[in-house]
Symmetry: C2
Subunit: 341 residues, 2 copies
């Protein structure tokens, strides 16, 4: 099957290649009649223009890359939808790279994206040791926007949610209800967001005069339902038990809740639980989850818009957007019940 080119179309329509190219890119300067015959020729032939050749002559790639290290989390699905919406609006495709957190794979995919000369890259989390890779890419001229993560500096775009505030919100809520011994089920602390949520939470707890039990200051590599279940077991096995548990995302919280209830405990009477992200399923849980809400879709949308602006607008201004999180109270939190102990 011989490949169809603009030349075949030109021949068929009885015009030159230049004219076909004009018809494709600036139809307004081509005579009505000519345009029609070119259109007809393309339809009959089933011509689809070659983006590679196009790109070679200077056109920008109509694609952006989206790096997601944690695709299981419905939170990121929402982010994706925001990104997709903005990208689609502008006529761009989204290349999703979601390999579960292997830094080597991440590098390989970044390299591929760069070879493709995608218009830009949106990153939700940077794999261990890969931040240098990103800064090198930026130096070579590739627009990069950090999503859901405070940017390193002013010379770069970023969209984020104030995680310190989010952690504080959770802590204040629990302590406000009267909890005095609390637990934290966190993700890897070298991930800025986890560190921030922890620090905000800790501040609130200390300010309220409560204590984060040292045995219950947990950290898990993966922030999954499974990890949450394990966390619950560890908490139950500890010497001293908390009356409230803050989980750094809803998946963990769901796992914690599930395991706790399976073990015969009551939520919120025995353990109050606060999650993070407010994913759609938080409402559907056995005990609907109190959670810190983040505007996931908006996050993705604004990030993609920033990226595309940086990619196409000469006088683009870098911008650091920070959203404020919001506490959504549901049934999984309540005051501690002394009698239950």
């Amino acid at each position: 099957m011989k490949r169809l080119t603009i030349l075949d179309v030109a021949e068929r329509a009885g015009v030159s290649v230049g004219t076909v190219s004009n018809a494709l890119n600036r139809p307004e300067i081509v005579a009505e009649k000519t345009l029609a015959s070119i259109q007809a020729a393309m339809d009959e032939l089933g011509f689809v223009r070659n983006a590679a050749a196009r790109q070679l002559t200077g056109a920008k790639s109509p694609a952006i890359g989206l790096i997601v290290l944690d695709i299981d989390n419905p939170f990121f699905t929402e982010v994706y939808r925001g990104v997709e919406a903005a990208a689609n609006e502008a006529g761009y495709l989204v290349v999703v790279c979601g390999l579960s957190g292997d830094p080597t794979h991440e590098r390989r995919q970044l390299r591929l994206l760069e070879e493709q000369r995608v218009a830009g890259i949106l990153a939700t989390r940077v794999g261990k040791g890969n931040s240098r890779v990103y800064s090198q890419m930026r130096k070579r001229g590739m627009p990069v926007v950090m999503l859901d993560r405070r940017s390193a500096g002013k010379n770069q775009c970023s969209v984020a949610v104030d995680d310190v505030a989010g952690g504080r919100l959770a802590g204040e809520h629990l302590c406000g209800l009267g909890h005095e011994r609390v637990a934290l089920v966190n993700g890897p602390r070298d991930w800025t967001q986890c560190a921030d949520r922890r620090s905000g939470f800790l501040t609130a707890v200390e300010d309220a005069g409560a204590t984060l039990l040292p045995d219950a200051d947990l950290e898990f590599e993966k922030m999954t339902i499974g990890a949450g279940e394990e966390a619950a077991r560890e908490i139950l096995a500890a010497a001293e038990q908390p009356t409230a548990i803050f989980c750094a995302n809803d998946l963990l919280a769901l796992g914690v809740e599930h395991a706790l209830i399976a073990a015969g405990h009551r939520v919120p009477e025995d353990f109050a639980i606060v999650g993070y992200d407010d994913v759609a399923f938080a409402t559907m849980a056995f005990v609907p989850l109190t959670s810190v809400r983040q505007p996931a879709g908006e996050l993705g949308k604004r990030g993609a818009e920033q990226l595309l602006s940086e990619a196409t607008d000469e006088n683009h201004k870098h911008e650091q957007i920070v959203f404020e999180p919001e506490l959504v109270v549901r049934a999984s939190t309540g005051a501690p019940v002394p009698s239950a102990r």
Copy 2:
């Protein structure tokens, strides 16, 4: 910032462009020493080769397209993971097109993918009226694999799950428990999978001498939690009420269960519920959901493998793979409780 080309590298390393190209593509035919100096030159310059130019000379695009019309459903996240795993394994990128079911957008994205000359396209569902678009693409030589959908014919690859069997499984389970009046909460019936699930379910129900209440044979455009909640309201409002409800996916089922319980009914005593897909959250539901399980990850993986085989293997054989679904029984189903009525 002037663009770096292979020529700059050649100059810096003191060799010809041909040699640099060789170093990149067939390092084994280049002398050790030359290779080293080229490598050094590339590193110093920060050279990244241009995939567009490469593709123009015959190389295949290292990307495949994945069309998902229903990205909210965690089921598709799992499919994606399978696809990504297979693609990554083979060194491919995945372009995800997930715009929520608008056929016009779908066509636009397909066009972009085709212009990019992606190695192939994986489609999980075909938007209304777009099947012709797909067959035209195939005619032009673009490999297309239908995922999770019985293919039209033998001259095309496909991977699917037997949805008729899945529906039957649900029907047999419920009728086997003694339910005699059942409801169906389905998605759009012009989607093959929904039609199939319905027909399998119907067969089982009729074989068992039970009846699908005419008032409770529901069909919703979107298969979401929200639609499920609405379904529950409709079922409760109907003249005659079922004792069991089969939902064509877990999102619907979760919504139904939630609304039912919110309205003060008990699951499974008042209403037994069966879902479909067995998403991770089915276990976490208020009442853990009985569901028909599909091997989502495997589906995506095999589909991508088929696609890549078709894209790269001269003597590729088309193949239609059909997986068998499996019933996972949890707390949301039980025998009908006469006293409750």
